[in-house]
Symmetry: C2
Subunit: 575 residues, 2 copies
């Protein structure tokens, strides 16, 4: 039972669910539902899927996450970046608008869900750490630009395509002649209105004397107003006969039971994108969940989150959806609206199910331009170049990683972009550790503390070379250290003792062990003793049984101070 | 001039060349030439090239290395592993025996030479460090097995093919019916004889009363004897008419002037193999050079070695050869024979040139089985599984890397094998650093030294949590540390001060900086102060201007002792 409760957090919070929690969750659900209807339609369009897929993807996944997830406030469903990744991955195996495209999207959700659940069971949540924060920030910014650009065609009313910025811009430019003036007017007006809703509406309403609470709710309903007004406008004026693209007929139905395609060649070509999408989705989701949990001093279990998100994606795969994850905007709204438990998500799911059955005829005349405006306004808030400045000031290596991620995402597509970001980060890290910082240290007078001779006023002796090695020793830097020490000893001919201060050596791998054995032999031939000091427990445990220790010409000291006191020549004391 | 001398070491040692050095170099050259003739023919066969390519590849490259290389004893030419890599790479773009095959081999040498020279000029020799010693050992062992297996067809006299162990064995088994009995007899006899030459001949000759020096020279000449005897045998008995494959007509010529093919599609498909081959060849060469240089207290400059090897490969590309590198066997023979300067190599080249012009008709009847025996006996000495045992005892991560390299090289081919070895090593290293060891430390009584409370008898106080972080902080482990500290603080409610002892933190990247800022904020909310101690110079330089330092709730101390003395509650002193 304890075990089951671990894997299904609902059994914990469900037992103490109160009437008060219920009413708070209910209010949050209503607000989130109103916000989600246009957003779900818009993201489905971004993913290249029919609008109902966005609503379906918000129903079963929310329910499943409520059962398996650990975050109290996270709202799972279609999000911008994952929708873009879906369009990019599925676009490579099927044509938009075909049945194969929708099936491939289900397969992608299925593979992603399976992968996340497996990671969760194997407790491999730490893999997400390979995406460094600067890389994520760069990727999100570049994705925001890509997404906004991809929606310009709906605002202009032209047909354009492409998965990278140059492709999209080129395609847009070559189709500029086809601009539909009515679409453009609706699109620009909707975009301008939504920007105002986001920035200027709340202060405006407050200045008109509304209560903050009411102003808040009205602001949240802004996108719904845009949807309503433009739909009615197109319906009354018959602009859809003048080239304004509309959503059209959407089936009135609860989420259907669907089967992802499991054809081996389809699975093979979607597997890598599914893994990438899963990791990116997970990273986005967990960072939102942790931010919100921290505000209420709750804890998130990353491995259980993997299972929760995985279950949500499996749910999407079998109910006509597409890959989902925990979204920032919807989760924050849920949290701010007072959601207390995952039950709020369940109520949202019910609200959306009602919308799917009852409201879809009402959006027949909804213009695609309005949805595009919704997306553009939402994603432009993701675009944030400040990470470039911050990393430039702090660390050039991080800056290079961000820059590479942004440029490659924009020019080579989302998958190449994020994969390159990870590879560049790892390579730069290895490069840094391949040239270890080695400081010659001496005793800080009057203490037992030893610091760099170039930075501090310290005591040394020409016959003793004390070196603090500032890196774990492993294959990438094993030889470098050996070369460095040998050339130092060759230059300083008075040296009789070399003390390697291992306080910063956290591991010694086999290649480094061999290099140290070699160093010991060479120093012995030169009449120099090799000592080690401050070797840490875990490192000493491994070294104990080796040839290095049994043949070490010098000793191993607990502290650098002991080593120094033992080997330095003592001043002769006059009796 | 100084600069030129740096890039052409010949200008240094050439000025002080003496008559005595000349005679020593001459003797070494004669011995090496005798050994190289059968070896060059055999390795060319292994690479799938006509026998003369092996001799040509030993002439210009040796001369060029003599000009640009830094090792006094290294002998450059065809070697087993590089020949195998050549066969694998070129076999993917052309059919053996065609003109395209030979041209592709030239192209491979050209690309490899160019790549090495560029690395050398950019001083990127450290890249070779990414191949850890266990991975190299595993790769060499697996290559030895692959090479020996690939030669079995010549011993059996059947036609078989394949680039992996299962392919080769399967192909051999399915052709077993075609065994040529005469070939088999010659092959087995030659192999047995050569094994005896290697293991038993020298003791035998010594027991017969020969001087060690003479016994040594005769042992070196063993392969030549095998070549001579089997050639004469086939010539006299006419066995070549009974299915015994022979070398046949070899052009009598100095190395011809050739042009590598530079067709873009050829270059594109050979580029990656060329890079891999260059790095493996360089690693083999530099480790031989360093071993020999250490014996005479000479120094090897890795970056200059890249230029020397690169020049040798460019030379091979334009004189009918194929990729070359510094070989272990030939270099050791050269060294033991008393070679003093690279001039010994030049004399060897002259000897081989004479052989190419004058001796090739004599090997018309040389059986391929004899060459195969030469290769098998040479490479089986490379097979050494002891690395598996050594790494198993010392470090499981290294063991996994060796095992993966051996298994993947045998089953998936040389390129996949070595690439996987590198990737597995890097991943395991990152995995280890992703879960940093964090020790709670206390004061070793009577000293200013702080060690792990679980391993040493130390003094602590419930209100102070001193943690020594045993890893550089970067994106892979940034969050892990934060989680760990927060859960420790949540468990120990008396804690008022957290001191992070940064003696083992060699770098803090941007992701980790953000995690620390976050930690500082969260601890502040819990009423706990965060202090840092023993922050190293390079780390402090970067942290100085950050939000973390300006908002740190605690202080930064030079030593852990200072920190402890400052923050621990003092016992009240009774007056």
């Amino acid at each position: 039972m304890q075990r089951l409760r671990h894997y299904m957090p609902i059994l914990q919070w469900g037992r103490s669910y109160t009437r008060e929690s219920f009413s708070n969750d209910m209010i949050a659900a209503v607000i989130v539902t109103i916000m989600l209807i246009p957003q779900s339609l818009a993201y489905a369009m971004l993913a290249g899927l029919p609008p109902e897929a966005g609503i379906y993807a918000s129903i079963a996944p929310i329910l499943l996450y409520a059962v398996f997830g650990t975050s109290r406030a996270l709202a799972v469903g279609p999000v911008a970046v994952v929708s873009l990744l879906t369009a990019s991955a599925v676009g490579q195996v099927a044509e938009q608008g075909t049945a194969g495209y929708a099936v491939a999207a289900l397969t992608l959700a299925f593979l992603s869900g399976g992968f996340l659940v497996i990671l969760g069971i194997l407790r491999l949540g730490f893999l997400a750490n390979f995406l460094s924060h600067p890389v994520i920030a760069g990727f999100i910014t570049a994705s925001g630009i890509l997404i906004a650009t991809s929606q310009l065609k709906h605002i202009l009313g032209v047909s354009a395509h492409g998965h990278t910025l140059p492709e999209m811009l080129g395609s847009l430019l070559s189709h500029l002649g086809q601009i539909n003036i009515w679409t453009l007017l609706i699109g620009v007006a909707a975009t301008a209105f939504l920007f105002w809703v986001r920035k200027g509406m709340k202060p405006f309403l407050l200045s008109k004397g509304l209560t903050p609470k009411l102003a808040d709710v009205l602001t949240k309903a802004g996108p719904v107003a845009a949807v309503f007004v433009t739909t009615v406008l197109v319906w009354m004026t018959g602009l859809s006969d003048h080239g304004v693209k509309i959503v059209g007929a959407v089936p009135q139905s609860l989420p259907p039971l669907t089967m992802p395609g499991l054809d081996p060649s389809l699975v093979k070509s979607l597997l890598l994108p599914a893994i990438l999408l899963s990791i990116i989705g997970f990273v986005e989701s967990i960072s939102v969940a942790q931010t919100l949990a921290a505000k209420k001093r709750q804890r998130i279990d990353p491995d259980q989150e993997l299972i929760g998100l995985g279950a949500a994606n499996l749910g999407a795969a079998f109910t006509g959806g597409y890959p989902v994850t925990g979204g920032f905007a919807r989760s924050v709204v849920n949290f701010d609206a007072g959601a207390e438990t995952p039950a709020a998500g369940a109520f949202t799911a019910i609200g959306l199910a009602i919308a799917a059955v009852a409201l879809t005829p009402l959006i027949y005349y909804l213009p695609a331009a309005t949805l595009a405006a919704t997306i553009i306004v939402a994603v432009l808030s993701l675009v944030d170049f400040s990470m470039l400045g911050k990393t430039w000031r702090y660390s050039k290596a991080d800056f290079i990683a961000v820059m590479a991620t942004i440029l490659l995402t924009l020019t080579m597509g989302v998958e190449v972009g994020v994969a390159s970001g990870v590879i560049v980060s790892v390579m730069l890290h290895l490069y840094k550790t391949s040239r270890p910082h080695v400081a010659e240290v001496g005793q800080v007078p009057g203490t037992q503390h030893f610091r760099n001779i170039n930075r501090h006023d310290v005591e040394t002796h020409p016959s003793v070379l004390s070196l603090r090695v500032d890196e774990s020793l492993y294959f990438v830097n094993a030889r470098v250290l050996e070369d460095l020490i040998l050339s130092r000893v060759t230059d300083g001919c008075a040296i009789r003792h070399v003390i390697l201060m291992f306080s910063a050596v956290n591991a010694v791998d086999f290649s480094a062990l061999e290099a140290l054995e070699d160093l010991n032999d060479r120093l012995r031939d030169m009449g120099v003793k090799l000592h080690l000091s401050e070797v840490k427990g875990p490192v000493m445990d491994k070294l104990r049984a080796t040839h290095l220790i049994s043949h070490l010409t010098g000793q191993i000291f607990l502290s650098q101070y002991d080593a120094w006191e033992t080997v330095r020549p003592k001043p002769t004391i006059a009796v």
